[in-house]
């Protein structure tokens, strides 16, 4: 009996081996492409990270997880918005899970850490998720780090011009958080506003400030014709609430994370002053564009009953845009990642795609997106406040149209270098 089983096993094994040998060439061609996802499912940006994965999953389901004749396997990892954690997870994705491409990360410092890591890799590609630090691609770019989303400075394109020319305001008060992201945003605003001759007074507050009353008193007494608010999250809410309570009535201009559903859906007196606020950024709730309307409709259908927002978040849109870049390039090369991904990376660099917002995207020589930025206004629609795009600045590059050498010589944005310089 034992012998029979052994014999049968041998036969079966032999048949299996033969079948395996026959099938082997086909398997080699059809091994799935391994795409590693890295976002934050822990820490301060966890809700944004979850939403990013929602949209990545939705878009992969739409193409049935197949591109260029090859299946895509999506492997999810999570960090907590800290650079060293993101790096450890990226290493795990590359070395343990053996992914070909990483899509991520979400926040600025993580992006810079992964950019440095990508330089040590050969035959792997990292495509940004939603991180928006400008230095990731502007200074010391890495040949295998690609970013199809725009950065914090780009998001302010057109805003300074709008305030100076259309609103006719010559002097503004800028109140901003005292860390890297607001520096980049203030820099972008000032480049345009100061170049036109505008005058700016800055009020910095550390991240986590809850009492803005003295700042608001100074702003209300000043000659500023408008207030530019570049805070986010609870800081932004605190400023707006106190500004409304102090009877502030100057026109408001906001940074990209001020005009956001997390602010607008919170209850309180800030909603009264925020209606009419102008802001700039890569998305809005309402964009008059068929691509965007279709994307939002699909998002709502897919996720309405599974915890999705009323409208996709900024992180979800950035991850989707970068995913589109990857899918486009994979299609171009028919899923061919051989030769250390050389052809794939060339296709990425040459990719011209349309983002979920309808914005057209192409890359510059640093593999950084040149894309459209929306000018938005908060409007009361129905009984909810919504961010409505009313204008679009097309083809904004990372240096906002200033020659790159000149832009680099301006230095990195900081509180001592807020961009109020002559740029001609």
């Amino acid at each position: 009996m034992t012998i029979r089983i052994t014999r049968r096993a041998t036969l079966l094994g032999g048949a299996g081996l033969a079948a395996g040998a026959l099938a082997a060439p086909a398997v080699a061609q059809n091994t799935p492409i391994r795409l590693g996802g890295l976002t934050t499912l822990e820490g301060p940006f966890a809700t944004g990270g979850q939403d990013a994965y929602r949209c990545v999953q939705m878009e992969l389901e739409r193409i049935n997880h197949t591109v260029g004749g090859r299946r895509i396997e999506f492997i999810r990892e999570s960090s907590n918005a800290q650079a060293d954690v993101a790096l450890a997870r990226a290493r795990k994705l590359v070395e343990q899970d053996n992914v070909d491409i990483i899509l991520g990360p979400l926040s600025g410092a993580e992006g810079i850490a992964l950019r440095d890591y990508s330089r040590t890799l050969t035959g792997k590609t990292i495509v940004n998720g939603s991180s928006g630090a400008s230095d990731t691609t502007l200074r010391n770019p890495s040949p295998n780090f690609f970013r199809f989303s725009t950065d914090g400075t780009q998001w302010m394109a057109g805003l300074g011009k709008h305030v100076y020319q259309t609103m006719g305001i010559r002097e503004v008060a800028v109140t901003a958080g005292d860390y890297a992201f607001p520096y980049a945003q203030v820099f972008g605003f000032n480049l345009e506003f100061c170049r036109l001759g505008g005058k700016v007074t800055h009020y910095w507050a550390p991240l986590g400030t809850t009492d803005f009353t003295s700042q608001i008193a100074q702003i209300n007494r000043s000659n500023a014709g408008a207030v530019v608010v570049v805070h986010g999250g609870t800081d932004g809410l605190a400023f707006m609430t106190q500004y409304a309570q102090a009877g502030g009535n100057k026109p408001l201009v906001g940074g990209s994370i001020m005009a956001d559903q997390t602010m607008l859906s919170a209850r309180g007196p800030h909603r009264r002053v925020m209606v009419g606020m102008i802001s700039g950024g890569p998305i809005a709730d309402v964009i008059d564009d068929p691509t965007w309307n279709d994307f939002v409709a699909r998002y709502r259908r897919r996720w309405a009953n599974e915890g999705g927002f009323a409208s996709p978040s900024i992180h979800a849109v950035n991850y989707s845009t970068n995913l589109y870049g990857i899918l486009h390039a994979l299609k171009e090369v028919n899923g061919d990642l051989s030769d250390n991904q050389a052809a794939f990376q060339r296709a990425l660099a040459a990719a011209e795609i349309t983002a979920p917002t309808g914005a057209s995207v192409k890359l510059d020589h640093n593999r950084q997106a040149i894309s459209d930025i929306f000018l938005n206004k908060i409007e009361e629609r129905g009984n909810a406040a919504q961010v409505v795009a009313f204008d679009r600045a097309r083809g904004i590059n990372q240096t906002l149209g200033i020659p790159e050498a000149r832009f680099l010589s301006l230095g990195s944005p900081s509180r001592d270098n807020p961009g109020c310089v002559a740029t001609s």
């Binding site: 499912l41 822990e42 979850q50 999810r76 990892e77 999570s78 907590n80 918005a81 800290q82 650079a83 060293d84 954690v85 790096l87 450890a88 290493r91 795990k92 070395e95 343990q96 899970d97 053996n98 600025g108 410092a109 810079i112 850490a113 440095d116 890591y117 040590t120 630090a133 230095d135 200074r139 010391n140 005292d178 860390y179 890297a180 550390p206 991240l207 990195s412 900081s414 509180r415 001592d416």
Partner: protein, 342 residues
């Protein structure tokens, strides 16, 4: 016995490919074992203070960060360039000096506190430095930190090579480990253990309790500094997240699950921590994997209050094997030493 273990650890990068695919073996060498050793060194600085001095300091990760930041600020090639101009040969000793000085400072500030108050004051110092580093642009480049600290080339070997990094980390850990075992047998170490058991008696014998405490924090600062330098090179730079509350608590967790009875516990704890930290997301729901990590740590601490080395000791006791005590030398041995010394 321990020599054999060390030899096995040295040969591990060549033994691993025998039991797993080569790609995975390299991952384990650099990113599980290498990372565990680096964390283990920082955890060992805490274990050293806790085991032989009875001080639980939550500032050790911050002190490691001081070394990392000193290296990143001074060394050539870091982005952005803050001071620069130093090669690794000069910058690393400078960083260790900075960490030792910070250790002494923490020791001096907390010299009159014990127990929960010591915990609080070291935590406050750690968080103070963390917030300062996070908001200071001129020296520490704020939230984004300092990048591109790639490490030196050592005798023609590139530090970025996984094998080179692993062996340098292992050698550093072994030297520090032996250094601690030697130090606790010197008069200084014996006095330190005396302070742990009965500070008044030690003071009555004429020793300065305060100075010994501060010196012990200095030694722990040096050890943490070694870990900080290695971790900065491993991470190709440093940012405030490396020394934040999460990292501070992680080091405490490693020490506790490893066991505070002996310096080797730090490495066992950091290995368990690193393995779970890396693989929990693969074996459990990705959105909830921290729950698994928490449950494992809870289980270890519940089953064995003296950590993983306590579990080992229990098993051996259960099997009835005679063994040396892993418990640190107690007050009786210090008395013997006093009588022996001329």
């Amino acid at each position: 016995m321990s020599l054999l273990g060390f030899a096995a650890l040295l040969a591990l990068p060549w033994l691993l490919p025998l039991v797993m695919p080569p790609g995975q073996a390299q991952f384990w060498t650099a990113n599980i074992l290498g990372r565990a050793i680096v964390f283990g060194i920082v955890a060992m600085s805490l274990t050293f203070l806790a085991t032989y001095g009875g001080f639980i300091s939550l500032a050790q990760m911050m002190i490691a960060g001081i070394a990392g930041y000193a290296l990143a600020v001074c060394v050539d090639g870091a982005v952005p360039r803050i001071v620069g101009g130093f090669g690794y040969g000069a910058a690393i000793p400078l960083s260790l000096l900075a960490a030792t000085a910070m250790g002494l400072l923490v020791g001096a500030i907390s010299v009159r506190t014990r127990d929960i108050y010591l915990l609080m004051i070291t935590l406050a110092l750690a968080m103070g430095v963390f917030r300062f580093v996070e908001t200071n642009i001129a020296w520490f480049n704020g939230y984004e930190g300092i990048r591109n600290v790639v490490g030196p080339t050592l005798f023609g070997f590139d530090f970025r090579n996984a094998l080179v990094f692993y062996h340098v980390a292992l050698a550093t850990a072994a030297l520090l480990y032996c250094g601690i075992l030697y130090l606790v047998k010197t008069p200084f170490g014996l006095v330190l253990q005396g302070i742990r058991d009965n500070p008044r008696r030690v003071a009555a014998l004429g020793y300065s309790v305060g100075l010994h405490r501060i010196a012990a924090f200095g030694v722990a600062g040096f050890i943490a500094g070694c870990g900080g330098v290695l971790s900065t090179i491993y991470n190709i730079g440093i940012s405030p997240g490396t020394i934040g509350l999460g990292a501070t608590v992680n080091v405490l967790i490693m020490s506790v699950i490893g066991g505070l009875g002996h310096p080797v516990g730090a490495f066992i704890g950091s290995l368990i921590f690193t393995v779970f930290d890396t693989f929990a997301a693969s074996i459990y729901d990705r959105d909830r994997f921290n729950t698994l990590i928490g449950l494992v740590f809870l289980a270890i601490v519940l089953v064995s209050p003296d950590g993983a080395i306590g579990i080992g000791a229990r098993i051996r006791r259960f099997l009835g094997a005679p063994r040396r005590s892993l418990q640190p030398a107690s007050a009786s041995s210090i008395r013997t030493a006093e009588e022996e010394s001329p």
